[in-house]
């Protein structure tokens, strides 16, 4: 913890600390002594846990349910304190059809900027700490996510996190949120934009080492807790002849959707696996084609060099001046080794589909046996 104490010493020694991690407070206050250990100016404390506010949970779920697009994005706002990244607010990003990229990127940036300014005015947290994405059946591996997160990890304090929300799990009664960041080895390879086989070997990259999971916890503030408490309290119905369903009235009766015997998402999940495998096969085919191309070009180049050498030997034997060794690279265009990023991401997608299928199947087995036991 040398770095931590150094940060603390630094915080204490600065005469007028440029305190707030957010630029929200224009008048800087001195950091109180009790807080000097937990506020790190240089973002040196490692990120240990992501804390998601109840408001953000409902906002993400609502956005994901209502959006028509396949993938749903939004920005997370909050601040970090003592290794905990507190996500206290979020807002949805407009969905763009990607035909006019330049224009949509600009208007999206304007939207973000004015939204942040507006939120600052009502004293909400306004520093971006990451983004969220909603998917179905755990398929969050895609180029888009990796690209955005790579940019964030460069620009934001602590690199930011991406929170993945699984819509299909939530529909089955288990609201699921996970926080991820890119691993340093992947980021290194990504910055060099080099995903050739040798680079993958050097960085020890497989699909499972692209993202690292950050522990995530959900928090409810006391005001919200009391509100939820008043919602879940059940009051007996006033009607004397009420049916069992209406005898007691509660806004939030206990739900048992996890015990549903139906296997609704199963066919969809299987279809998605097949589709992902097909995509992967196509991608592998492309890769194989390209590597054959490379091999062929290389063989031709080698052939040419060997022939030229032989010829020169013959000419030397006949006391003639040797022909110049021409630049092989200029004569033969050997294509660059293809990037394996896409195929790696596809494998990751197949894996996560498989994982979600597995968990569905295992809970289905338990459900079946419990149903059988009750008969």
């Amino acid at each position: 913890m040398a770095a931590t104490s150094m940060a603390a010493a630094l915080a204490a020694s600065l005469p007028a600390p440029t305190a707030a991690p957010t630029p929200a407070a224009p008048t800087y206050e001195a950091i109180p002594a009790s807080m000097s250990k937990v506020i790190d100016i240089e973002a040196e404390l490692p990120l240990q846990v992501v804390q998601l506010d109840g408001l953000v949970v409902t906002k993400i779920i609502k956005h994901a349910r209502e959006a028509s697009a396949a993938t749903v994005h939004g920005l997370l706002l909050g601040l970090d304190l003592d290794g905990t990244l507190e996500v206290s607010n979020s807002f949805a990003l407009p969905h763009h059809v990607s035909d006019e990229d330049e224009k949509s990127a600009k208007s999206s940036a304007r939207y973000q900027a004015s939204m942040l300014r507006s939120l600052r005015e009502v004293q909400a947290d306004d520093s971006v700490v990451g983004f969220y994405q909603a998917t179905t059946l755990g398929a969050f591996f895609n180029q888009n996510l990796v690209e955005i997160q790579a940019i964030h990890q460069d620009k934001l304090r602590h690199g930011g996190v991406v929170i993945v929300h699984d819509l299909s799990l939530t529909a089955r009664g288990n609201a699921s949120f996970r926080a991820f960041r890119l691993t340093s080895s992947f980021l290194d390879a990504y910055k060099k934009s080099n995903f050739s086989t040798s680079s993958l070997v050097n960085h020890r990259l497989t699909f499972s080492s692209i993202l690292e999971e950050v522990p995530l916890q959900v928090r409810v503030n006391p005001l919200l807790a009391s509100f939820l408490g008043s919602l879940t309290k059940s009051t007996p119905s006033l009607l004397p002849d009420a049916t069992p369903e209406t005898a007691t009235f509660s806004v939030l009766p206990p739900s048992f959707s996890a015990l549903d015997l139906g296997t609704t998402g199963l066919t969809k999940n299987l279809e998605q696996i097949i589709e992902a495998v097909d995509n992967y096969r196509t991608e592998e085919g492309n890769l194989a084609y390209m590597s054959r191309q490379i091999a062929r070009e290389r063989a031709r180049a080698d052939n040419y060099v060997a022939k030229r050498k032989e010829e020169n030997l013959a000419r030397v034997a006949q006391d003639l001046a040797p022909l110049p060794e021409e630049d092989v690279a200029r004569l033969f265009k050997i294509p660059a080794e293809p990037s394996r990023l896409e195929s790696m991401l596809l494998l990751g997608q197949i894996d996560s589909y498989g994982k979600s299928l597995e968990s569905t199947a295992s809970s289905a087995v338990i459900n079946m046996f419990s149903a059988k036991a009750s008969i």
Partner: protein, 272 residues
């Protein structure tokens, strides 16, 4: 204890209002972040009105700056406009009205402002009492009529609320994520087991004559427990077995796919 009331500023019959939880949660969050000297916060509700004007769905809300001293209330109009535009870009559905909301007490002035904004429809006014302070309630009936309020959310969003209620009950008001399917199932099953236990305890008590049997309760129990499918013994076992085999097959397939993916990613690293 939080309490939520809504009202419309007109003599027309009250329109039932449904509110999405996220709107209420935003209000509570805004209230938490107010300045100490602010007695209340206000904001704008966004949503849709049914075409025949018989119901109103409030879908989201945002906070608006305002200041009040004594008799005067100032609302940042420009801010309200900007936010309104920003929100309608994401939500697409153009709200047919916007509304004032405040906490603890109502204000005729704010209501007036929003009535202009939402013309020709009347504005609704949602007051959320946080119960954090005790303030005398101003009689509201003088200028507005209360409307029935319902909390509304989609079934799929239910689990999110469940997660939050669980979190609210746990110590520190935090829960660790992600919860696996199996853990979730485990919690649900133990809840069911607990409920069965308490029912069983009650029935035993009645049988032993320790407690007075409630006829209505007995009828409910019979209705609930009698629902189970009662068919001939053999057919059930067969259906169970085929279904079990299917499920096991899927589980096998899932494992196969995953291990293939793993092997394939390792093979990509092999160089000649």
């Amino acid at each position: 204890m939080s309490r939520c009331t809504a009202s419309t500023a007109s003599s027309a019959p009250p329109v039932p209002i449904t509110i999405h939880p996220v709107a209420l949660f935003s209000i509570l969050d805004h209230y938490l972040r107010r300045n100490d000297d602010q007695p209340r916060v206000i904001g704008t509700l966004l949503g849709t009105r049914s075409p025949d004007n018989t119901s109103i769905h409030v879908r989201s809300s945002f906070a608006v700056l305002h200041s009040e001293n004594g008799e005067q209330v100032a609302v940042d109009m420009e801010y309200h406009r900007t936010m309104y535009e920003l929100h309608s870009r994401v939500n697409r559905r153009r709200p047919s009205y916007s509304t004032g909301l405040n906490l603890n007490t109502c204000s005729a002035l704010i209501q007036n402002f929003y009535s202009q904004e939402t013309a020709p429809h009347q504005a609704i006014h949602v007051a959320l009492s946080t119960g954090a302070e005790r303030l005398p309630q101003i009689p509201r009936t003088a200028y507005s009529s209360p409307s029935p309020v319902r909390l509304q959310f989609q079934d799929a969003e239910r689990s999110g609320l469940d997660l939050l209620t669980q979190t609210a009950l746990s110590p520190n008001s935090t829960t660790a994520q992600p919860v696996t399917n199996i853990t979730h199932l485990d919690t649900t099953l133990s809840t069911v087991a607990q409920m069965l236990d308490s029912v069983l305890a009650y029935v035993r008590q009645v049988l032993a004559g320790e407690a007075e049997g409630d006829k209505a309760l007995g009828r409910y129990l019979m209705d609930t427990l009698g629902v189970g499918p009662i068919s001939e013994k053999g057919g059930e076992d067969k259906a169970f077995n085929t279904s079990l085999q299917d499920t096991l097959m899927i589980s096998y397939l899932a494992n196969l796919v995953r291990s293939q993916a793993e092997v394939s990613s390792r093979l990509a690293l092999v160089t000649s």
